[in-house]
Symmetry: C4
């Protein structure tokens, strides 16, 4: 491992930095995912039955489920990545804040895609939804590059593994960009493609073994 | 213990996976339980006394208490289950997300059962409330099956204990399903039966000793 | 130490139980304290200056500060108490849920005492505010009794210390009950006395040394 | 290290105190940062396009980003500081509550600076925003003084390092005070200068090595 260039307060970045950064990130992700439900409102109009009002809320509930999945997968991804982080420096800290900002911003476009499903407003909402997830993908790429290219990674990770994850993250970025652009064809496509991408990240093949012998 | 089939990022799933999954789940459960109060609104109408308005809010406060109990017990249950988890794989991760989704969805039906207590709307609300808890019970059964049938459990757990918990979880699923269907008889029954089920899970007999000799 | 009667899932309650119970409680307390600000709304009426609207919001901001203090002290108290807990059983779990329920309920009466400061409604609001804190004090007494009287405490705690804390907690319960009843004299008294009680708990004399030799 | 004067419950303050104080603080900071988005509302008026409504929300989104940055940096700062804390006493606890109160209060002025950007109301909002951050800076100075002057710090920290951080924290306090006063010149200046200050704290030079030989 190359010598870390960390300039974190007091110099020597410790493993503990990563632990508390993970705890803070877990908190933000857990809260963002739980706040999503606050935007689902079921209020029957005068004379409307609750069953009918619930039926009208299906787009909101669908958007809730899609964003819940996205944030859940982002959490899992964040967790897998930071298992490989030995040290944290200030740039990594800011890049992680960018990731957290994009995730905690997600309730806003989630509400918008639920309310605006067609026409120009539907496209605007889906573009913003896709762009927010694309910023998350950019942040993951920045974090991964920082960790692997500036000696912040635990030792013993094989170069093949790093290349596998390089490809994986770039593919994610391309995928979310495509999903965003698809909003121009049909707003629903953005949400469907983004959800499939998220599921693929969990259920698809893992990168090759990260660490030859876990220490 | 059979060989784990975990394909979690980088292969070898570690105990640490379970620790961070528990931390994230604790966060979501703690937030969901605390957000419940946001749906209790006490706003006296013009000329109405606050005491009278509070009295009118009793159904909301009762629904708040019932859901607080449910999520509290789900947390305790989650905690007890994951003490026995050695490793986490992607399927388990998704099943856990399903559990968290059902819990963080609960504030919605909680608000609905408080507002709609009689007639067709009362039935609809109680059905949704019961169905949400039933999904939680399904998720617990899926998680337990995954953990015990795919070698993700700590070693040393007796087969008798596993069978005890199998029965317990199936009984919970049947119980919550019955509570849901009872909404068709009377909406309040769903909430009462579900609350009794939750209390039984805490105060009833424990399964037999899990681990002969804790390591 | 007497033999624990814990019947927690799988029998042998472990120190880890307390750790995760603390983590969940920390989560609920942190969220409850942070949600308080959501009830402070500053919306200038037509033609009103923001400075004037802020001035009108001072009761809300005062109530926010008072409840922030209460929950902060409850957290500190909870933390000090659970440092002495070796094991958790189901009764303790339910008693802890009662404490968390009272704390997460606090935003509701906090909003009410800010809105209703005089007359019968002011009394009702202050009574509910005081009663909620009194329930917290009851829960602390129940938890302390369970921990000390049912062998759930770490070993090595002196009987003098236990008696000191017995007195301390009973005094707290009496104090909050008096603060509640003072609502009938003047609503503001409840909040002032309750805040002084909380500060006394932090700044007043500590109980005598808990553990002769920390192990 | 001088003898600690901690009077924390049961006397001997332990390292664990700091750990749980950090966990609680992480929770409050994570929630405060995530709640910010709740104040960003994008609701097109009758006949207005969503794109236009989003454009009108840019001040809100900018205020969101600025406060997200502030809280993120406060978290990082808190984390760096508490790595050096060996023990916690009651005064430190209250000072930490003051810090958390100022942070969890921040969503209120954040919403106000987004809504009121010009004239007397713009000045009022920016003054409150700046004052809230100045209170955070005061709290950091109090905490740092308590830790370093009352023997609560880990051993082995060099006096040069303590002086470096003394200067750094005083500079921060002066900086935020200046940013607050600049509200009288132009409201936007407060937010711009405060954001630059926050970035400087992360990206600027670190204080000299804290601990000669980490133990």
């Amino acid at each position: 491992m190359t010598q870390p260039t960390s300039r974190w307060w007091g110099g020597s970045a410790l493993r503990g930095d990563s632990a508390r950064l993970e705890a803070f990130s877990d908190g933000v992700l857990a809260i963002a995912v739980t706040l999503l439900i606050l935007d689902v409102r079921v209020e029957p109009a005068e004379g409307e039955s609750l069953a009918h009002a619930l039926h009208s809320s299906l787009p909101q509930i669908g958007a809730y489920a899609a964003s819940f999945l996205q944030i859940g997968i982002i959490w899992a991804n964040h967790h897998a990545l930071f298992r490989l982080v030995e040290q944290v420096d200030q740039i990594l800290l800011l890049e992680n804040l960018l990731l957290l900002a994009s995730v905690s911003f997600l309730p806003l476009p989630t509400g918008l895609v639920a309310e605006h499903t067609t026409g120009a407003d539907g496209r605007t909402a889906a573009l913003l939804y896709g762009a927010t997830l694309t910023v998350s993908a950019v942040a993951f790429n920045l974090i991964w590059r920082r960790v692997t290219r500036h000696g912040l990674m635990v030792s013993g990770v094989s170069p093949e593994f790093v290349r596998d994850v390089d490809v994986r993250y770039l593919a994610g970025l391309v995928g979310y960009t495509v999903a965003t652009v698809l909003a121009l064809v049909a707003p629903a496509l953005t949400i469907i493609v983004a959800s499939l991408l998220a599921l693929m990240f969990v259920l698809g093949p893992s990168p090759r073994q990260a660490i030859a012998q876990p220490g």
